[in-house]
Symmetry: C2
Subunit: 344 residues, 2 copies
DNA sequence: TTGTAGGCGTTATCAT
DNA sequence: ATGATAACGCCTACAA
């Protein structure tokens, strides 16, 4: 409480004690008499004393706050993760400072500099789609900043990671499409270099192989900006449907892309699932209200946020650095709805 | 940069100067020789010196950060506002600390205590739906904390406010329904006591009056939890449709409620707009992809965030307290789609 | 032009 | 059991 905030010094003066005595009384030190403690506590209570966290940060070189970097909080998946992060952080007395990269590498670097300069005790990050150079993260990590990656992790940095089982998620979605009679299943994925895209692609391919459906590389496309840029998505979709042998189903690699593709189909008056089926990763709360109701692969976002935060706090509060890092994998769930209904 | 951070003292020692000289050189004081400045700057640059914001906060009693309290970041309206807030704040060198009340009064009080103790320089808040007692805000305001309200404002506190023209938004939506042939238009609104609900209700009523449509109080209902609680919404809807003279259109007072009502209709197999038309406040990016595509009243959320932040920074950085507060009103836009199509 | 000292709020260390 | 002092990193009034 910055405004007219009462300090230890104020209490000391008022009670005719020294600041150290007051400080100790407040922290219930055994070397302070019961009476003094009572006195100090009563006064502090009455005047609503709150220790100044800024001063504490300066002294303790820790801020009891953790930084979070995501691409976009307006994305359900990430806002659900943030809720998970908060649920743990607040319980443990940590503040959460949220930054958005908006999928920009440049912005991510700025965010990180900012957070680092605010003396965050640790960092939770899902890297931007544009990020291919990880020096900014390595540098912070080398300086000893505890980092836990979630969702979009960085392989080259050795620390805890919490990810989704992208491969199995993609596998199940693809199998579902195959079993419902779809044969030419396209995969529109996020940036090719990303860890996530790789996992999703591998699950997709494995499903095709396991069911003796030939893999056609022409049915696999990437959007560098992961659907944030609708024009890019449109370009890729146009290219996909310009082919002679057109797909009869599309498997989309991210929430934004799933919505974008749905928009694309509607604007082209393509009927779903009659003309084209659609399944995509999405954590939207309203996927069931869409036209058509969307079959999605849903990720345990809240759980992911919780787990990542627990791991981070473990590192932050560890007495000695632990070199034994977890790679925690959470399952994705296939929710079947109209957009992938059995082909007649 | 908490980790091995270089300080002014380090620079002073390395260069054989005093900390004050270094400090002044860094701030380009006129009383430092050009040479010394150059020397200090070069060294600082080379070692990537960054002033410690914690120390600055302690000294200056300001943190260059502003607190934001919203009910839910997962709500498009609020996440868009936050993007607006950030866009201004970062430009002006302010950090944004986001807290969610989850529509809980208790949580709002906790959030506020927390933010206040973190020495925020100012507060942007849209109060929770549960909040009817404003003492926690008054107290902070009286202590001199600059506050700007947005969207859900508190009348009794005299400061800048940025709101939507709820009345005109509701008026236009209602007129649109009337002109499309709907006669029994229900209004499901958020908490009756709220400023927002009042505005929306008055616009709705005025539209009916202006078009000689009788006002039927039985068609007006409230959800205390603003649609967050689906069971409550369901109860109100059930009551609404249990009446003899059923509505032929529903005008919904918030994003969550709009989606909830859509879900309600679908679960009851009611066709939209054939059986029942629907128009609602919503900032969802995907309202056009729903079944049916939804007619919405869209609010300039990003602009709202920007404007509120500009006003707040004006107060924060004002030399002398200004008693002349703005009540900035932004227009809402009606976006017509299928869910309110003309009645045959 | 540069240096010294004190203070922002707190706590740890070392007296008393 | 309590107090004085120094320190965290920075800035600034005052000295030199």
């Amino acid at each position: 409480m910055r405004f007219e905030a009462i300090t230890i010094k104020d209490i000391a003066t008022a009670l005719g004690l020294s600041t150290s005595t007051v400080s100790r009384a407040l922290r219930d030190s055994h070397e302070i008499s019961v009476e003094t403690k009572k006195l100090v506590r009563a006064y502090a209570e009455e005047h609503n004393y709150r220790p100044n966290p800024i001063a504490l940060s300066l002294k303790e070189k820790r801020s009891r706050s953790i930084g979070v970097v995501v691409c976009e909080i307006a994305n359900s998946f990430f806002s659900q993760i943030i809720n998970g992060i908060e649920s743990i952080a607040y319980d443990r007395g940590y503040n959460v400072i949220i930054s958005q990269s908006h999928e920009s590498y440049k912005r991510e670097v700025i965010d990180l500099n900012y957070l680092a300069s605010r003396s965050i005790d640790g960092l939770l990050i899902s890297v931007s789609m544009e990020t291919t150079n990880f020096d900014h993260l390595k540098s912070l990590h080398n300086k000893g900043l505890p980092i836990v990656f979630f969702d979009r992790v960085v392989d080259e940095i050795d620390t805890h990671k919490v990810i989704i089982d992208n491969s199995t998620g993609a596998y199940n979605a693809t199998v579902h499409l195959i079993e419902n009679g779809f044969k030419r299943i396209a995969n529109i994925n996020i940036s090719e270099h990303s860890f996530i895209a790789q996992g999703r692609l591998s699950g997709y391919k494995k499903a095709l192989q396991d069911h003796n459906v030939p893999i056609d590389e022409k049915l696999i496309r990437y959007c560098e900006h992961g659907g944030q840029d609708y024009a890019e998505l449109e370009r890729e979709m146009d290219a996909l449907f310009a082919q002679k042998k057109k797909p009869d189903a599309v498997f989309a690699g991210s929430d934004t892309m799933t919505m974008g593709i749905l928009r694309y189909f509607k604007s082209r008056k393509m009927r779903i699932p009659e003309d084209i089926a659609l399944v995509g990763f999405s954590n939207s709360e309203n996927a069931d209200l869409l036209q058509p109701a969307l079959t999605v692969i849903k990720q345990p976002a809240f759980e992911m946020g919780k787990k990542a935060t627990e791991l981070l706090l473990k590192v932050i509060e560890a007495k000695r650095p632990d070199k034994d890092f977890e790679n925690f994998v959470l399952p994705a769930e296939l929710v079947v709805r109209e957009s992938s209904e059995r082909k007649k």
